[in-house]
Symmetry: C2
Subunit: 141 residues, 2 copies
DNA sequence: ACTAAATAGTTGCTTAGCTAACTAATTTCA
DNA sequence: TGAAATTAGTTAGCTAAGCAACTATTTAGT
């Protein structure tokens, strides 16, 4: 049976969480995806960060970050300026509109997290973290 | 910190497993994706299954299954025939080439599974399954 | 100083997930 | 029986991941 397979369950859970989160955002009329929120949040927490660093923090590749940054820029949530020190780099910063969105999103994201992890004991939260890290480490070797 | 977040870890682990699996398939010269293998496997195990049922088993939507089935058909791994009882439905079956591929894939998939779950105790495997199910159930309510 | 290598970012192509809208066939039920 | 609803599958449009190839700038090494 495929659907008892651990990978299947991990992948399915990830999809379900994204889907649930996306629906919650939509129901609040938020014009961002969960992934875009992750990028926005990183930029908010790291003033003048560049795209490579965003990618490192979110473990995503350059093209993916490039495209998401462009979307956020188009929607006026962030500002993208070429670095004066090193003109290969960009410096990303959050706009006023972006800050407002972050504030609006904060409780919504908390609610999403809370819902998914509802009824999980501290033990279980710790446990799943440890197991997922083990799986990732297995794949690195 | 985003990357200590449980959802982030689940999603990242799923991505890592897919990537690892994809590389293993590629290194064996297999012209299938992990997801396509899932579909092929379901068809192999359920002779004359239709696409809706494949979608139910893999928890994927109709368009996704439709495309993957077409890819598998193009690559001659499966045969797609309209059902004679109900001409809205198709009947999917595996071709000889498909069966051969399944046989070839079997040990490779086992290796991928084994690698990811290496060093996990039975207890941990049971545990992650339970926790992931809890999370999914939380989101359903 | 000048070439070669490394780095940051972009573009293009493919697969997959999700939604919505659509066609065609089948069921329902009044 | 015939209109309305349901079902199976497809198509189209969007986002995102992954890969490869590319440009432009910066850094290293001789």
């Amino acid at each position: 049976m495929i659907n008892t397979n651990t990978y299947f369950q991990i992948e399915l859970t990830a999809r379900r969480i994204r889907q649930y989160g996306q629906n919650v955002l939509k129901s609040h009329g938020i014009d961002l995806t969960i992934e875009q929120w992750l990028v926005l949040n990183v930029i908010n927490e790291n003033e003048l960060i560049n795209q490579i660093r965003v990618g490192e923090l979110l473990v995503k590749d350059k093209p993916t970050i490039s495209r998401m940054v462009n979307q956020l820029e188009q929607k006026k949530y962030i500002i993208k300026t070429p670095s004066s020190n090193d003109s290969r780099k960009v410096e990303l910063s959050i706009s006023k509109k972006g800050k407002k969105m972050i504030d609006e999103l904060y409780p919504i994201i908390e609610k999403i997290r809370f819902t998914g992890l509802n009824k999980l004991s501290e033990n279980e939260k710790e446990s799943i973290k440890t197991i997922l890290e083990k799986i990732q480490k297995n794949l690195d070797d």
